[in-house]
Structure formats: C-alpha cells, structure tokens
C-alpha cells in the first residue's frame, strides 16, 4: 500500500484542544482568610484576579468527605445550597471587600487540576486551571496561581472508624463555625495538641458536650495557655492511652472504648491528631514539594508562577514535630487493633491485606499469592505507595485517598522500619475532586479534535489483519477506517 504522508498527523493533539475561556493575571484557589487577602492585595495593585472556592460543596460530596472529613455528621441544613452560600458570606465579610476591590469571585467552584507545559507535554495553549461548578467544567488561563487550599484532616483507622460519627477536626470546626450544621451532641476528641484543644473549646462554646480528649503520649501536648483554658472547663484528658474501638448502631457511633478499658458514651469521635496541607493541585501540575514535619507534612516549594499561602503553604511552625506525633499515634493504634481493621474505607482494605499486599476479596488468592507480602515485595526495592495501591486498591476509591493516603504511607514506613519521609507519597491525580462525567465533559469540543478523533493512533497499517496484507482488503480497510488521515 502506497501512503503519501502529508507531514501532519491530524490525530495528534497539536493545537486541537479546547482553549481556556478566559485569562486572569492571578487565579487564587481557596477563599479562606489568606486566599482572600492575596486576592485583595493583587486586585488593589490593579491585577485582573479570579478567586475560586469549592465551598459550599454539594451534600453528596460532603458525604464523600469532600473537602474535609465530615464523617456524615452534618445536618440536613447542608443540603440547602442557598443557605450554605449565605452562611459563607455571613462568616466571611472579607468576601464583600474582595468583590468591591474588583476581585471576581466564584463560590461553589472547584479547581480540579492545574496544567502547564513541561517534561512530557508541550501541547497546552498556556498554563491553565480546570474549574467546575454544579453545571459544567471549563478552563482558565493564568499568569500566576496562588494556592490557598488550606489543610485537610488526617484520618486515623481504628476498629469502628468506618461508620458515621468519626470525623476530623477541621470538618467539625467548619460545621460549627461557618455552617452551624453539626449533627452531633456529645464528642470525644482524639489528640491533645493545639488543634485538639482548640476544637474541644470551640465545640464546648457552641453547646456541644465534650466528654474528653485522648492522648497517646504521657502528657498533654497543647500550649500551656490552651491547656489552662481547657482546665477551666473541667474537660478531662486521658493520657497515655488510645482508642481501641468505636461501637455504634444505625446512626453511627454510640461509644468509644480506650486502651485503659474505659468506655465513653459519645455520638462523635473527632480525630484532631493532625492536619495535612492540601497540596493536591501542586501534584497535578508536577510542582515541587518537600516534607516539613514542623509544618504538617508535604508543602509546596513555590515557583515563579505558583505560590502557596496559608495552611496550604504549611501549618504555623511552633516547633511541634507533627510527623513524629502522628507516627506515635499510628504505632499505638496498630499495636492495639486487630489486623482486620479496615484502613481504606472505600475499597475495604484491611491492614492485614495492605501489609500482605493481597488483592481485594472478589479475586482469588491461590497459594503463591498468599505467600506474598510487603516483606517479599521489599526484597525487590523500597516500598512505594503507588505500587501497593495498584495491588491492594488502598486509596483507589471514590474518596481519592483523602482518608487513607497518609495512613498508608505511615503504615508502610512503620512496617518497613523506615522514617516516614523515605516513603514517597502516593501521587495525587486530576481531578483532585470526584467529578461526574457529564460535568467534566467538554461539550464544546473543537471541530479539529472531533473530526480526527481515533480510538488509538490512527496509523492506517496498524490494525490490518496479517491475512489481508497485500490484498484488496488492505485498501478497503484504509478507506473505511482512516479516510482523511493520509492523502
């Protein structure tokens, strides 16, 4: 078959992708205090600024613990998006100031990916951020992006954590302060560092009964000032112990049992062991990041056109080693819980299966499979969470690893006897929030892409059956399947 090549591969992406809908000098992701401040500063300096925030997220997404670990403890009020929107404006008067300063503000708008040309990609028209609301997705070009995405809750597995009523401190604070939509009445707080004590005090101030704090270390960890305030309330701190299990019924948690044998009645267990800077978007743009134990985990390094502010850049450094603290919790919880404790809720992966690198239950486990484990895998090289994820499915569920990613890395470190930082973090991939196909869809695909769209590379000789080579059929095949590609 004679092929006359045109010098152009119309099936290649070159120039065919959808263009961004608009361009801003600055896009700020996250309308918390630091994001709003950054947006206002830039707008006052005359810049064209777009400020987006995913909140209020839909009730369905909150049920998937997006963006925080809500643990199913939000009231029906969170289903009412208008009320939620109002609540955000009420709780953040700076938003008005930002709009007055000329900032364009989009709430209920998720930034699900940031893309730019670099190693392996040169086809993007410019650096873009992908946005989506409840109707559609679109792209926005920018000169500079400021990530003010905050920090998210660090979840910790123990028997019974996979039921409604186990939630994170940041989520609880958001429900209490911003939305007035916390559905619990009686909480137990895990941790006694600043975050835990602040959360306990806030909850109590909002009329929630705080039954106590649980501290794995021998002494409370918060600042003297916070501990003094806590002492005034009479809320006890149970030191040198950890939670062994949570019992519950159809509405979720009803009580918690501690390693010291104590059983505490509560409807909510609030994990306030740590917060993790939300660096998902940095990962999607293949940006640089580094582990900083005093600032809560991996933090963005910052680059010429990317900056991070607020908790996304790292928690305030007050000399506390967050990683060491978490690892102590993880070690204690591992010691006192059975191996069949679920680590990945979405995929129901137990610790035994994670450490055994075993496949999910719907697959068979023949003898050679059962003989495999993390230990045999480690003989081939250092542990890599992405590899473990592929084998066990831990972190592959609809919560996109928000609940278990950090735990898996910690467990692998413990099991491999290596410091936490030597285990790479499982990669974050776009979309960094679960987004329905019909919302993500590019319904206005450029004609050049539609016209040349091929199932694979559009190479006219690739799929001709060997039997047909050199026959009339070869030509028919090309005419039928590849017209337009080559002259």
């Amino acid at each position: 078959m004679e092929l006359n090549f045109t010098g152009t591969d119309i099936c290649a992406v070159n120039g065919t992708s959808s263009a961004p809908e608009a361009h801003y000098e600055l896009v700020v992701v996250g309308a918390g205090p630091s994001g709003v401040a950054a947006a206002i500063d830039a707008a006052k300096a005359g810049k064209k600024v777009l400020l987006v925030d995913e909140n209020p997220v839909s009730g369905a997404l909150m049920g998937n613990d997006v963006p925080l670990y809500f643990g199913g403890r939000m009231t029906a009020a969170t289903q009412n998006s208008e009320r939620m929107l109002e609540a955000i404006f009420m709780s953040m008067p700076e938003l008005e100031t930002a709009m007055e300063a000329g900032v364009e503000l989009l709430l209920g708008t998720t930034a699900w990916g940031v893309y730019r040309n670099g190693p392996g990609v040169a086809s993007l028209p410019e650096q873009v951020v992908g946005l989506a609301d409840s109707e559609r997705s679109w792209l926005i070009g920018f000169d500079h992006i400021t990530l003010a995405t905050g920090a998210r809750d660090l979840a910790m597995a123990f028997p019974g954590w996979n039921q409604p009523g186990v939630m994170g401190a940041a989520a609880l604070q958001m429900l209490l302060t911003r939305y007035d939509a916390f559905a619990g009445r009686r909480i137990l707080v895990l941790g006694s560092h600043d975050l835990a004590v602040e959360t306990a005090l806030l909850a109590q101030a909002r009329g929630v009964e705080v039954t106590g704090l649980v501290e794995v270390r021998g002494a409370p960890q918060a600042s003297a000032e916070l501990l003094a305030k806590l002492a005034e309330t009479g809320i006890p701190i149970h030191c040198g112990t950890a939670i062994t299990s949570a019992k519950g019924g159809i509405d979720g948690v009803e009580s918690a049992t501690l390693a010291n044998g104590q059983e505490i009645a509560c409807d909510t267990i609030c994990a306030a062991i740590g917060l993790v800077p939300s660096i998902e978007l940095v990962d999607t743009m293949h940006g640089a990041r580094t582990l900083n134990a005093a600032r809560g985990g991996y933090v963005p390094l910052g680059e010429a056109t990317v900056s991070a502010v607020g908790d996304c850049a790292g928690l305030a450094d007050n000399g506390f080693d967050h990683v060491a603290y978490r690892m102590e919790w993880m070690q204690a919880l591992t010691n006192i819980s059975a191996d069949d404790t679920v680590i990945c809720q979405c995929e129901e992966v137990t610790r035994a299966d994670l450490i055994g690198v075993q496949p999910p239950n719907y697959l068979s486990r023949p003898a050679p499979m059962c003989a495999r484990s993390l230990n045999t895998l480690l003989q081939d090289g250092p542990a890599n969470p992405d590899q473990i994820k592929r084998l066990t499915r831990a972190g592959m569920g609809v919560c996109q690893g928000r609940r278990c990613r950090d735990q898996v890395a910690m467990l692998l470190a413990l099991e491999a006897g290596k410091p936490f930082g030597t285990i790479p973090l499982a990669s974050h991939r776009a979309p960094v929030r679960p987004l329905p196909l019909k919302i993500m869809a590019d319904w206005n695909e450029p004609e050049a892409m539609s016209a040349a769209w091929d199932v694979w590379f559009g190479i006219p000789t690739q799929w001709v059956p060997v039997e047909d080579l050199g026959t009339q059929y070869e030509e028919d095949h090309r005419q039928m399947l590849y017209t337009g590609m080559y002259e």
């Binding site: 392996g120 609809v398 776009a430 329905p436 196909l437």
Partner: protein
C-alpha cells in the same frame, strides 16, 4: 540452553513475560528495570487483549484464559468485547470490521440496540447498535505485570528494580555482559524490551531502531454496577469495566514527544480528560452521573507501520529486541513466547513473525518521523 543466563532489559509486560517463558524452560533469568516493574506503559494501559491484526493473535487468544492458573496470581482476565456505534459512520465502520472477522473465522455477532443494552446495561438507546466479539478480552495491567514478575521469581528468576542499564560488554560478536551504574551482569543472551528507550540502547550496537515515542491518556470513574460484559469499546474509545466496577477509558489524540536514554521525564495528563469524559458519557449514558476519580498518561513507542518489532539481531547475534509499538499489553503472553523461542531456538515456533522483523525498515527514509508528522511540538 537450560542453565544459561539471560539478562532482560526492561521490566514491562514484554520483558517480564519473556523472562517468565524463559524461566519455564529452565533458563536463569535476570530482569533489570530502571524503576519499578510495570511503571511505564505496562501499568498505564487499557488492558485490551484482542489483537486480531497480529501474527501473535492466536497465541494471545490461547494463552489469556490460562494465565491466572499458569502464573499463580490473579490477572483479572475477562473474556469477550462489545463495540458500540454511536454515529452512523461508526456503525458502518464497525460492521465492516465485523464482516472481516466473520470471514477470518473470528466469532462475532452484530447486535441491535436492545441486545446492546442487555449486554451493556449502562448503554442507552442513543446508539446505532453494536458488535459482540466472542473472542478477545481484557485484564488488569497492573495486576498482570506483578503476576508475571512474581511468577518469574517463583521459577528462580531475579528481578532487579532501580537498576537502569547503561551499556553492554561485547566479545566475539556476542554480548557478554549488561552493565548498570553499579553492577555488571554476565550473560549468554540479552533481551532488550525497554519500550521507548530501545533506540538509545540499541544505538550502542550501531543499530537504528525506528521508533517514535508518544504520550496517551486515560480516565477512570468510581465503580458502576457490574455489567455482563465489561470489555466495552466504541465511539472511538477503548476501555473496560474493572472487576471492581470502575470504568477505565482512553482514546483520542496523542502527543508525540522525545525520550532520551534515561526514559520519560514525566507522564503528565492534560485536560483531554474532558473530551474523554464527554465521549464516555455518550457511549454509556447511564454512567454519565458517575464521578471521574483519576486520570493518567503513559508513554508508548510506535514503529513506522505501527506493528511491533520482535527480532534477533545478526550481530551481536545473541540479542533479541522487542518493541510492541503501542499494542503490547494484550499480546504479552504471546510476545514473551516468541521472544523465548528467538532466544533459545533462533526462530518462533508457533507463528510466522517475519512481518515483525527489523529488516522491513531497511529502506526507511531518514526523515520518516517528519513525513508522518510524528514530531514533538516545538
């Protein structure tokens, strides 16, 4: 050749399958990979295993249903495929291919809209019809890669990860050792199955392997209810429902890139995810509400005619080179067998694979990439 040592450069499905086949013949095998097994294309593909265009097709079809048992580890292999037409043109094209299968003796059935929906409940009545391939299938690439690797170890083979091969030692027209930065592995024969890095490695022997690397993307949704047939293509998409229920799909534009001797620098995905999403929402309208939870990209190399290059060199004469040209996952049980035969017997025992010889490109123009427009965007 039992007792001899074969070093395999590249721990993707091709190298690992070859290693497994060789180990089954009693050969001592060492697989060297620059990172973790299956990290490149082999762990990032659509898992499709229906390569009727290939001389290795019959062997691909014969082997897959046995692989779980032979390897001893689950691959999630599932039989059959359905291809759904969403436009009149596609309907014409897919029936044309079906007719061809029929004449080649591959069992196919043309389905009307109702039959499509029975087999693929997520499909809608917006389709024109479908073609049911009662052959082929799909498997989980990541699980399969590891299954090969473990099975190979169970047979006494060795896998060295984090071991980029930097060069070779030759003597008397043969490669005698394979070198990494820190070690030298003596060998009786070498298999180079290094994907897009094959040209750089083979250039060390003064041999030009015409391959152009490109990046291709996929998306995956949260789980959907299990469908009777999970291997659902169509609307110019390829993909599968995983055994967990997720829909993993790819297709559409690729991007030509350059890869140097150290391999792809990165494998970024792009907003092409949105175009995959719209097509998948059209192909399976009852899944349109499902969340996309990840996207990714992988790098594959393509030969000028899009067919694999599987050949044993004449000089040095103990080197087998294997590039699968973008269609290597499904064919892996067969490509490994062919490579084993070339290494041990010098010829493929079960198929005529002359069409995969490197010599077919002897007269290739030096600007073949430019001619095809297969150049990276500058």
């Amino acid at each position: 050749m039992s007792g001899s040592e074969v070093v395999i450069v590249g721990g993707g499905v091709t190298g690992l399958s070859a290693g497994w086949w060789l180990a089954r013949s009693g050969v001592k095998v060492t697989v060297l990979d620059k990172f973790i097994v299956g990290w490149e294309a082999s762990g990032r593909n659509g898992g499709g295993a229906s390569h009727y265009q290939s001389p290795l097709f019959d062997e691909e079809q014969r082997m897959w249903p046995q692989m779980d048992e032979l390897l001893g580890y689950p691959t999630e292999h599932q039989k059959e495929r359905i291809i759904i037409a969403m436009t009149e043109r596609q309907w014409e094209q897919y029936r044309f291919v079906a007719e061809r299968h029929h004449r080649l003796g591959h069992p196919v059935e043309v389905l009307d809209v109702k039959q499509v929906q029975e087999a693929v409940p997520l499909a809608g009545d917006n389709c024109f019809g479908g073609v049911h391939y009662k052959f082929g299938g799909h498997a989980n690439p990541q699980r399969s890669v590891q299954a090969y690797a473990w099975a190979l170890q169970d047979l006494g083979g060795t896998i060295e990860q984090h071991s980029p091969v930097t060069g070779f030692e030759t003597a008397g027209g043969k490669v005698t050792a394979v070198k990494t930065a820190t070690a030298t592995y003596g060998c009786d024969a070498v298999v180079v199955a290094a994907g897009p890095q094959i040209p750089q490695l083979m250039a060390q022997f003064g041999i030009d392997i015409p391959l152009a690397p490109a990046r291709a993307e996929m998306i995956i949704t949260e789980p959907a209810p299990m469908m009777p047939i999970g291997g659902v293509d169509g609307h110019k998409l390829y993909g599968r429902q995983t055994m967990r229920g997720n829909l993993a799909y790819g297709g559409g534009p690729h991007e030509w890139i350059d890869v140097d001797a150290t391999g792809p620098k990165d494998r970024p995905s792009t907003p092409l995810m949105r175009n995959l999403a719209s097509r998948l929402a059209e192909l399976l309208p009852k899944a349109a509400h499902l969340n996309i939870i990840r996207s990714w990209a992988g790098v594959i190399e393509n030969s000028p005619d899009g067919r694999p290059i599987i050949d044993r060199l004449t000089s040095p004469d103990n080197v087998v080179v294997a590039s699968m040209s973008g269609v290597g996952f499904g064919l892996s049980p067969a490509s490994g067998h062919a490579i084993r035969d070339l290494v041990i017997d010098g010829a493929c025992s079960f198929a005529d694979i002359d069409i995969l010889k490197l010599s077919r490109f002897d007269n290739l123009e030096s600007d073949w990439r430019e001619k095809r427009g297969w150049m990276p965007i500058s």
